[in-house]
Amino acid sequence: MPPAPPDSSVGRACGPVGAARQIRIGSTSSTSSKRSSALEALLVDLGSQIHRGVAVSQREETAETLRFCPTGIPALDARLGGGFPYGRLSEICGAPSSGRTSLALSLLAETLGRGVLAAWIDLADAFDPASAVAAGSDLERLLWVRARSEDEALRSCERLLQTEGFELVILDFIQEILHREALPDALPETRRKPRPKRRGVAAIRDVSWLRLARLAARTRTVLVVLSNASATGGRAELVLEMRPLAARFVGPPSLLDALETTAVLRRHRNRPIGQEVSLSMHAMDAEPIHAEPKPNGPPERSEPR
């Protein structure tokens, strides 16, 4: 390659803070020592620029360019900063009948309504298509994976996250049934069988969540884990805890009308945690999920990152 002319733009490098410094590579008057020192300076400058560029892009991604997948519940979306973040691991946990599945189906319906693909990995085989349709989901673009074990669910989730094109993957790790064996016929009512130790999400190694979180980040997928208790450890970007309040019956004749629950933000990268949103999930056709932000005091704390 011929040397660049002394006044050409080739060989001109700018410092990291914009202090222009002219380095003439191949200049006829420069000695070899000058040339080497100029090259070193150029490398130093380029190195600092590259390093700085990466750091800036990461910061920009987290603060500004991070996209959110809305849940379809405006009050909750407002508290979450727009919804569940793309490319991040999120978790919805809580006790039975706390509205975890209703919230997940609302998120699913909102996502499928945009014409994208979504997947529901079902460890407990508990997905009810009729409920999903009633929640407004268009099931044509939903992939339902009925895993038979935790290992199958995790492997399926990993494989789905490697496939670009699924915007939302919901990993349903909720296990209601503690022991599947039949109840003994002769068991007296007073003697209760001791509850076996809960297995499931707690037994999942932390490295699995780390791997899933990385895969979700690579394919920009919204990964939401449903669980009984927060199980993803520190790997989840967002943890929303659902608390059951009451079941409302109306009548006569007595009818189940609604579930009153509260969603508590337990972890979020950019939003103050501890905020609560009251949710009312109705069984009737006429009433949607009604959400009302609670007039909380100051947030408990903001989790440092």
Partner: protein
């Protein structure tokens, strides 16, 4: 009409080399069996240089060259090689057909005819076309010669002559592999050729030798009437072949698009790992042929002949026409992993259904989603992980039985009319209280007081029932004893806060929890 003939003199040899390219450069013979009386059918160039000739017995071959590689002629490989020749021809012209099999001296040759009429419009000359045909065949693992003449018979005779020319010694120019005959020079070219190239039967060949007729020129000098009177009317066909006067139908455009490859295993394969190497070779050759035909694989049909004499056939669907070797290999491997064969495998036959490739039509208003090949591979892997009937799109079925649902194969393609994103965007969603199904339902014990459940004991929850609603009775299929159902449902709130759906089955007289409101 101009016809090109691609001819391979030792098809069994080239079929073996096509399937096992690692044998190239080694002395190799193809025999008709294993025993002492087995004879060589085809001999590689390296074996020929060591003094081995066709027709020698196997013990003699081994005595001459102990390190020789011996393979038994495989009809499966030969068939695949013939079809590959046709694919090469069809990659250059729309009309081509396989030549009928020869007999006698030319039993092991394979030939294909290509319609080369008007080929100058696409190629610089007929000679350039012949060179392209020869090179493409060689790239597909089939080394042959190409002759171009005004009829199939003359083209094949010319190609046969080229194929049996003595190999040039070192220092001489390379052997001639293509020959173009204009109609005017055909007779002059054929005249000095030996009469054996016409492939006469043994009786006719002996009679011609007895009469002193050794070349085609001698045959053509005699009057047809006299020849027919002395040697029978069968000789007239030979004369017509030499003159290029055989009745030849125009070449047809083949409609068959299923491509077949197969292999006979030397020893029965018992595990899946070595089988994947076999699959890799088969898929590689199939995809090469698909690319030649500009087709994509729409479906794979795998047939296994097992050591216990049984045959297993499987159909492996491909979501979108695909030429990707890795995708097809993965699908094949997953299909076998999900259901391994019952015994060791002796022969593998793989048929790819070729379908026209289609470009993915992207929707202006819809997100792109995964590519068809990638989606297909993902679904196949998920099916292998979770089992069949456990991966798909959920369906709400028209059935009142408790817990009824459907599952259909997942496809990202959907009729455009069913998607209305704008309508969805502005629609007022009405998400409802959701039921989590328990499959199978959990058995329960319930205490009833004044017609209402007051206490529940089950694997899901146990304790006092605070509130309840119901019962709601559902019955159906009363006309069939096996499918008849009659259940009462209750919605109950437990003391621990959970809200369950209880079910009393009138058929079994048992309580069960079949859902949880969540």
């Amino acid at each position: 009409m101009r016809i090109a003939c691609l001819l391979v003199p030792d098809l069994p040899l080239h079929a073996e080399l096509r399937a096992n390219p690692e044998l190239k450069g080694h002395p190799l013979v193809i025999t008709n069996g294993h025993g002492f009386r087995a004879e060589t059918l085809a001999v590689s160039h390296e074996a020929f240089e060591k003094g081995i000739r066709s027709g020698q017995t196997l013990p003699r071959v081994r005595a001459v060259c102990p390190e020789i590689e011996v393979r038994i002629a495989s009809p499966v490989l030969e068939k695949a090689a013939r079809e590959a020749m046709l694919d090469v021809a069809l990659s250059l012209a729309p009309r081509a057909e396989l030549a009928e099999r020869a007999s006698g001296l030319f039993l092991s040759e394979g030939a294909v005819y290509v319609d080369a009429s008007g080929i100058e419009a696409l190629h610089a000359s007929e000679s350039a076309f012949a060179s392209v045909l020869h090179a493409r065949a060689e790239r597909a693992g089939i080394r042959g010669v190409v002759a171009l003449a005004s009829s199939r018979g003359i083209a094949r005779l010319t190609a046969r002559h080229l194929a049996h020319l003595p190999a040039p010694s070192s220092g001489e120019a390379a052997a001639e592999t293509t020959r173009i005959l204009s109609p005017k020079e055909e007779l002059a070219f054929l005249s000095p050729l030996p009469i054996d190239l016409l492939d006469p039967d043994d009786r006719t060949a002996q009679a011609l030798t007895r009469f002193g007729i050794h070349c085609i020129r001698d045959l053509l000098r005699l009057s047809r009437r006299d020849l027919a009177a002395r040697l029978g009317p069968g000789l007239l066909a030979l004369v017509a072949r030499a003159r290029g006067e055989e009745n030849e139908l125009p070449l047809a455009q083949p409609r068959v698009t299923s491509l077949e490859e197969g292999i006979d295993c030397d020893t029965p394969i018992e595990s899946l790992e070595p089988l994947s190497f076999v699959f890799r070779g088969l898929i590689s050759r199939l995809t090469e042929r698909l690319i030649l035909r500009s087709l994509g694989c729409g479906e794979l049909c795998l047939t296994l002949r097992l050591a216990n004499g049984a045959r297993e056939s499987r159909r492996i669907g491909v979501a979108a026409p695909c030429q990707d070797e890795r995708v097809l290999l993965r699908l094949l491997r997953l299909a076998l992993e999900s259901k391994p064969p019952a015994a060791a495998i002796e022969r593998v036959t793989l048929i790819a259904l070729g379908v026209p490739l289609r470009r993915e039509q992207l929707d202006f208003f819809l997100p792109r989603g995964p590519s068809p090949g990638e989606l297909d591979q993902t679904l196949a892997e998920l099916t292998a992980i979770c089992g069949t009937e456990r991966v798909g799109t959920p369906l709400v079925v028209d059935d009142h039985r408790p817990g009824a649902f459907g599952l259909k194969p997942f496809s990202k393609r959907k009729p455009r009319s069913k998607i209305n994103i704008e309508a969805n965007k502005h629609a007022q969603r009405k998400p409802k209280l959701t039921l989590r199904a328990l499959r199978p339902p959990s058995r329960a014990e319930v205490r009833i007081e004044r017609g209402s459940p007051v206490f529940l004991r089950s694997a899901v929850s146990q304790g006092e029932i605070l509130s309840s609603a119901g019962p709601w009775r559902t019955t159906g299929y009363w006309w069939e004893e096996s499918t008849h159902f009659a259940v009462d449902h209750y919605d109950v709130q437990m003391s621990d806060g959970s809200v369950l759906r209880l079910c009393f089955d009138w058929k079994t007289k048992r309580w069960q929890v079949d859902g949880l409101y969540d």
